[in-house]
């Protein structure tokens, strides 16, 4: 999913999911996010950055807990949602601002 090109997957241009390998909370976060996106009727998948492989990215983006969902882009203010995204209400509110 993370290998999609930006053209085919516009979501990856303004949504980044920071993960650590295949840790339980990372898996849980992917599951929770997929369910929420599907519910909201949003296609595509965010860009994923694995901090175990690219630890300096944590510095560059200022992400010091994982998983973390980062919303970037020129149109909207930057926002981060940390955790395994098990809080459905918070997650859907976050995605609703997309």
């Amino acid at each position: 999913m993370s290998q999609d090109t930006p053209q085919a997957n516009p979501l990856s241009q303004y949504l980044i999911l920071f993960v650590t390998g295949d840790a339980p909370r990372t898996r849980r976060a992917r599951r929770n996010l997929a369910a929420a996106l599907s519910e909201a009727g949003i296609d595509g998948w965010p860009r994923e950055i694995d901090l175990l492989e690219e630890p300096r990215q944590a510095l560059d983006f200022g992400m010091f807990a994982t998983p973390a969902l980062l919303r970037t882009g020129e149109q909207r203010p930057r926002a981060v949602l940390y955790g395994d995204l098990s809080d459905e209400a918070t997650l859907s509110q976050f995605l609703g601002e997309l």
Binding site: R25, A65, G83, D84, L91
Partner: protein, 584 residues
């Protein structure tokens, strides 16, 4: 190596020195080289400064480190650090990584999270700067977002284990929750988990902030468990009362040095012992400073270095004032033998004064030290007994063989006021008390040596005499059971002298008179003797004449009787006797 020895070596806790001398002293060598040390405390106690300073120390030794703050931005941190002498070291980006994680404080969370990414990032940074020091400042700001508190505790354990494995020395700081000093907020139970915990606290005494430091826990090693005063100055954090000195026995000197007043040396049996402590106490104006000035002047004249620390009196004024009694300090100041310093007593805490004094002693390395008055040190604000500052200082001077003279102000005229100085006086080897003696409308300065260890000192009160020629002690003038001083002494002395002269003259006159009488009597005796002799002679002459005339008369009477008596009445025997009588 036997298996047991090998085990011991492996089990022994390896420490890493922080470079903060006093901290390394109380921890007996520093922080655990591998693993986490938790520093808990209220805001403003110096947790962040301690972390920054330890990192700066590492940088100064050529080591590298990572500082990650969940409380402040990198800019704020570096700006704070810049107020310290070592702040610039943290700008060395090649050896130092300062990470801004302030954003985590207000971040939004939707569920539990991992810290593996954080650790991977830290490892990457530590690798880049080739560092072994990691500071996570305000880790509680991150972990408080963990929905399950036990998860947070586990993650602290995870960080600790990771550091042990990787060989990092980690400092974690966190705010405590108020009631439990060893526990940061949101991290209940952390105190059971980590082997090393330091607690910083602060209290207000006399509206001044006093910071304190305590090692709440340091598993597997000896350490100093006392709560200690913590100071922050331009050089960062200090624990002034940490025992940094070697515990070796100090040999007491038997060498005596002069006080600058010859007669006082005599009173003290030859002077003060080198390295000893002398307390001079007295009311305002009893010449404590003058005696102290005479002491340092004498030291400088012997070619020694002296440090004169004055509280609240300007150095220039002291020089001027003592010059009026013939003590010239200026040449010694000019030749750098004498360092004369003024400190403002109200300005600092007792611990700060103590530290400043320590630093001055380090700089000057004096043979003789004066603190005038040391009572200023005792009245400075302190959370602990201010006597500690003085005790520590005197411990230092004894070790270094610095002959120390403390003056102390006794506040009122009550002589029993001496007892309020009891504590200081027990520290001192020699205690000289100056007092005013008021008699005949005059104040005079009286000096007495209350005690002097190892010395057969004089018990007598003496008069301290100041003149433009210098300071001296006047021999006491005993008048009955009283000691007279000043004009009374001089007056009494001359009165007594006049009386003595008068008595002497009277005695001489009496003697002369008697001698004359004796002469006269002797003359009379000799005259009388002459008379006596004459009388005797006369008497003798008289008796001799008497005898012969008596016999003449007797013969005459006999003759007449014979003529009258008839011849026959004369017996033959009578005639015979008469003849014999005549024949004689």
């Amino acid at each position: 190596m036997t298996p047991t020895q090998k085990d011991q070596v492996e089990l022994a806790l390896v420490k890493r020195a922080t470079g903060i001398r006093s901290l390394d002293a109380v921890t007996r060598g520093g922080l655990p080289a591998r693993g986490a040390t938790l520093i808990v405390g209220e805001p403003g106690c110096g947790k962040t400064i301690l972390g920054l300073q330890i990192l700066a120390g590492a940088l100064s030794r050529g080591e590298g480190g990572v500082f990650m703050s969940f409380e402040e931005s990198s800019t704020q941190l570096l700006r704070n650090a810049a107020t310290f002498s070592w702040g610039g070291l943290l700008h060395d980006a090649s050896r130092c990584e300062v990470i801004n994680a302030k954003g985590m404080k207000g971040a939004e969370f939707a569920g539990a999270f991992d810290i593996e990414g954080l650790l991977a990032m830290l490892a990457s940074c530590a690798n880049r700067v080739e560092g072994t020091w990691i500071v996570l400042d305000g880790i509680d700001q991150l972990l408080r977002h963990q929905p399950d508190q036990e998860q947070a505790i586990e993650q602290v354990a995870q960080i600790n284990d990771w550091c042990e494995r990787q060989g990092y020395t980690l400092l974690l700081t966190g705010k405590h929750s108020g009631d439990r000093l060893t526990r940061p907020e949101h991290l209940a139970g952390i105190e059971f988990l980590l082997p090393t915990i330091f607690v910083l606290s602060s209290i207000l005494v006399d509206r001044r902030l006093h910071r304190r430091f305590r090692i709440a826990k340091y598993r597997g090693t000896h350490h100093d468990p006392d709560e200690l005063a913590l100071l922050i100055d331009d050089d960062g954090i200090h624990l002034p009362y940490a025992n940094t000195a070697d515990e070796e026995e100090v040999v007491a000197s038997s060498q005596r040095i002069g006080t600058g007043i010859e007669r006082l040396d005599d009173v003290l049996g030859g002077g003060l012992y080198q390295g000893s402590t002398t307390l001079i106490s007295g009311q305002p104006g009893t010449s404590k400073t003058t005696l102290a000035a005479a002491f340092v002047e004498a030291a400088c004249e012997r070619g020694e270095r002296a440090l004169f620390v004055s509280f609240d009196e300007l150095a220039s004024r002291i020089v001027r004032n003592v010059a009026s009694v013939g003590i010239d300090l200026q040449p010694h100041i000019d030749s750098d033998r004498l360092a004369l310093q003024t400190h403002t007593s109200w300005h600092s805490l007792a611990e700060q004064h103590f530290m400043a004094l320590q630093q001055r002693i380090d700089e000057v390395r004096p043979h003789c030290l004066v603190i005038d008055p040391a009572s200023a040190l005792l009245k400075a604000s302190s959370a602990q007994s201010p006597h500690i500052a003085l005790e520590r200082l005197l411990d230092r001077t004894r070790r270094d063989g610095i002959t120390t003279l403390l003056t102390s102000l006794s506040s009122d005229e009550d002589p029993s006021d001496e007892s309020t100085l009891t504590h200081v006086s027990t520290l001192a080897d020699t205690w000289i008390v100056l007092r005013y003696e008021i008699r005949g409308g005059e104040r005079n300065r009286a000096l007495s040596v209350v005690k002097s260890r190892g010395t057969a000192h004089s018990n007598q009160v003496r008069e301290l005499v100041l003149s433009s020629r210098g300071v001296d002690l006047a021999d006491v003038y005993q008048y009955g059971t009283e000691v007279l001083m000043g004009t009374a002494r001089v007056e009494k002395e001359s009165e007594e002298e006049a009386a003595r002269q008068r008595q002497k003259r009277e005695r001489e006159q009496r003697q002369q008179l008697l001698e004359r009488q004796i002469d006269k009597t002797l003359l009379q005796i000799s005259q009388q003797e002459t008379e006596l002799q004459r009388l005797r002679d006369e008497l003798e002459d008289e008796s001799a004449y008497q005898g012969s005339s008596d016999r003449e008369l007797a013969r005459h009477h006999e003759t007449i009787r014979q003529y009258r008596e008839p011849e026959h009445k004369l017996t033959r025997e009578k005639r015979q006797a008469r003849r014999q009588e005549d024949g004689q």
